[in-house]
């Protein structure tokens, strides 16, 4: 099932437009929106990773922000030690992306391996709740890390990580780096779900008992997928820590896990572009809904924008099962 040439052309055009976006924003003097674009890309990456286990593997993880947070905290903590000139377990602090990023991914993967192994002993509602419980555990752990600001979190006084030859402190550069990472992983996940591994994973989602009967080690497939998703979420956390130059337990809050789930479903679960679209729509709504309230003369209510967002979410869940992508493609196939 190779993607058709026209699909590749569409994808290429979209990627090109996305890459040109910051220059367009600068041209129309809306430079501050580059930060929003970066967030959309980064949360898109996190949602993409969640979608891999949620949409393809049928594992409803309500604690995916945990790995996002682990990745971010590795960046924050090492930056803290680099600023202070101290060491952690003999490891010196660092601002070098080439050292910090792989380490962060590795530790997120490790966290996903341990927590995933334990969580996957359960299923159904119990799985949802145990993943939530583990994320809560991490949340309270980060809150009690007094050295790293506890509830206040870590501010990266040294600024963003360093990559030789790139200046991440430049907003456009950071955006483009994040975009490249996102595109690479969209490609990788697209290949992965079409591979034998992806086939088995999807088959497990549809009928686990049959796969077991076929002699397939379902648990191992699921755990592998869980670890892959966890490490990619960790990478997204790394990028987000660099974007905000700040890390706090808020990264792991249960509503953050909820937000990621919303993005996946909003955009279109079980598709590659869906989570990214979802991230875009979600964050754009969050950014512009208050302004919209102001525009229609409800300025006094603008901090109550969630009163619209909540029902919107319910409507999508109830009536647009394929998410936004589903609505778009449905329109096309009808035509």
């Amino acid at each position: 099932m190779m993607p058709s040439a026209s699909k590749i052309a569409v994808a290429g055009t979209i990627i090109l437009l996305a890459a040109l976006l910051p220059y367009g924003l600068i041209a129309i003097d809306q430079e501050y929106l580059i930060g929003l674009a970066s967030r959309i890309v980064i949360y898109g990456l996190a949602a993409l990773s969640l979608n891999f286990i949620l949409g393809y593997g049928g594992m409803v993880s309500f604690g995916h922000a945990a790995y996002f947070g682990v990745g971010a905290y590795v960046v924050g903590i090492l930056s803290f030690h680099a600023f202070e000139g101290s060491t952690l377990f003999g490891v010196p602090g660092s601002d070098s992306a080439l050292f910090v990023w792989p380490l962060a991914i590795l530790l997120s993967a490790f966290a996903a391996l341990v927590l995933g192994y334990l969580s996957l002993r359960t299923s159904g509602v119990y799985f949802i709740m145990i993943t939530l419980a583990f994320a809560q555990m991490l949340y309270f752990m980060f809150v009690s890390l007094e050295r790293y600001g506890g509830d206040d979190g870590v501010i990266m006084y040294n600024g963003r990580n360093q990559i030789p030859g790139l200046d991440l402190s430049d907003e456009v550069t950071l955006y483009l780096v994040s975009l490249v990472v996102l595109v690479i992983f969209m490609g990788l996940f697209a290949m992965l779900v079409r591979s034998r591994f992806g086939m088995v994973l999807r088959a497990c989602k549809q009928n686990e008992a049959r796969m077991l009967a076929l002699g397939c080690n379902v648990q191992r497939y699921k755990l592998t997928a869980f670890v892959i998703a966890g490490s990619v979420a960790g990478l997204a956390g790394v990028l987000n820590a660099n974007l905000t130059e700040f890390v706090s337990p808020d990264y792991v809050h249960w509503t953050k896990s909820g937000d990621l789930m919303i993005m996946v479903v909003l955009g279109g679960m079980g598709t590659i572009p869906g989570p990214v679209i979802g991230s875009g729509v979600f964050l754009a709504l969050e950014e512009f809904l208050p302004g919209l309230f102001e525009l229609i003369g409800l300025a006094a209510y603008k901090e109550h924008w969630r009163i619209v967002f909540g029902p919107l979410l319910i409507l999508v869940v109830l009536f647009a099962r394929g998410g936004i992508l589903g609505l778009m493609t449905k329109g096309k196939s009808d035509a």
Binding site: M129, M137, L318
Partner: protein, 307 residues
């Protein structure tokens, strides 16, 4: 020694309070197979109802009634508008739709009542305290919560095991079509059942009102704990919810009461305070993880679950 006894009692009391919240959750969860994150919102509606009607009438009894009615009606409205479309959906859809409900309810209550927490006091008849151990006065109201919790447990148990409605409910949850064929209007029954679950949430909210700040977001703080309780106990099991609630209450309370002091035996007092507080806030989640790893379907698994 007396302090330990008192703290255990505190733990039991917190446990019973958590059971009050979890009771409605486990009812809806167990029988209808729906995860309802908005249960915390119904809890909040109960507390606001109690505060509002008590202030209006000057009587806690009327306030309590108002709380039950407003939570029940809100629950029925939720069921008719949204929940009934979710029974056949997977858990993910249920989680997301009810998450949307939380966002909506919280903003609506903020717009209606503002951000200042509402006032709700202990009813005069339950004010004051009695000496349970020498030198230890225990608030009557906290004892009353224990009493209400036991009543609710009995009531739930009777409804599910002894009444015809309960039998139909149990039959309906395992085989909806069969019961429907028998001429029972499952739709209406589920609406009423959801309303009953909401009434339980409202009762918990009204009982909590005099003890805690009646404010927006008060439900979410309890919601996750209530989920921990139901999951530990085994989803849908009333007995399990009770045992789970007591476990969570006692572990959480004893952790807060003694962990820091215990750690001081091994380390300096400043780090013991910090680590103790950190560990005790994680304690119930650690306990839940351990229990689920050992018994993946909770302490009292309920057989024949849909999904």
């Amino acid at each position: 020694m007396l302090l330990l006894l008192e703290q255990i009692l505190n733990g039991v009391q917190l446990g019973v309070f958590l059971f009050l919240i979890a009771a409605g959750l486990t009812l809806i969860f167990g029988i209808m197979g729906v995860i309802n994150l908005a249960h915390g919102s119904l809890f909040m509606v109960g507390a606001y109802g109690a505060a509002f009607f008590t202030q209006l009438s000057g009587s806690f009894t009327i306030g309590l009634l108002g709380a039950l009615v407003s939570a029940g009606l809100t629950g029925i409205a939720m069921e008719l508008a949204i929940m009934r479309r979710l029974y056949e959906r997977d858990h993910l859809d249920q989680v997301l739709a009810t998450f949307g409900l939380i966002l909506f309810t919280n903003e609506l209550v903020t717009i209606l009542f503002g951000r200042t927490p509402l006032f709700l006091d202990v009813p005069p008849i339950l004010n004051g305290s009695i000496e349970i151990f020498p030198g230890v006065d225990y608030p009557v109201y906290r004892l009353a919560i224990i009493g209400v919790g036991i009543l609710v447990a009995l009531l739930l148990y009777l409804i599910i095991t002894r009444t015809k409605a309960g039998m139909l409910i149990r039959a309906g949850s395992t085989n909806r079509d069969m019961v429907a064929v028998l001429g029972v209007d499952i739709g209406t029954m589920f609406t009423l059942l959801f309303g009953l679950g909401a009434v339980f949430a409202g009762l918990a909210g009204a009982m909590a009102g005099p003890l805690v700040s009646v404010e927006v977001g008060m439900g979410e703080q309890q919601l996750i704990l209530a989920f921990v309780v139901t999951v530990i106990g085994g989803i849908g099991s009333v007995r399990g919810a009770l045992v789970g609630a007591l476990l969570v209450g006692v572990v959480d309370t004893l952790g807060r009461a003694f962990l820091a002091d215990l750690l001081k035996l091994f380390m300096d007092s400043a780090s013991a305070d910090g680590i103790g507080a950190g560990l005790s806030s994680m304690s119930i989640y650690i306990m839940m993880a351990i229990i689920l790893i050992l018994r993946p379907n909770g302490l009292f698994p309920v057989a024949a679950q849909r999904h």
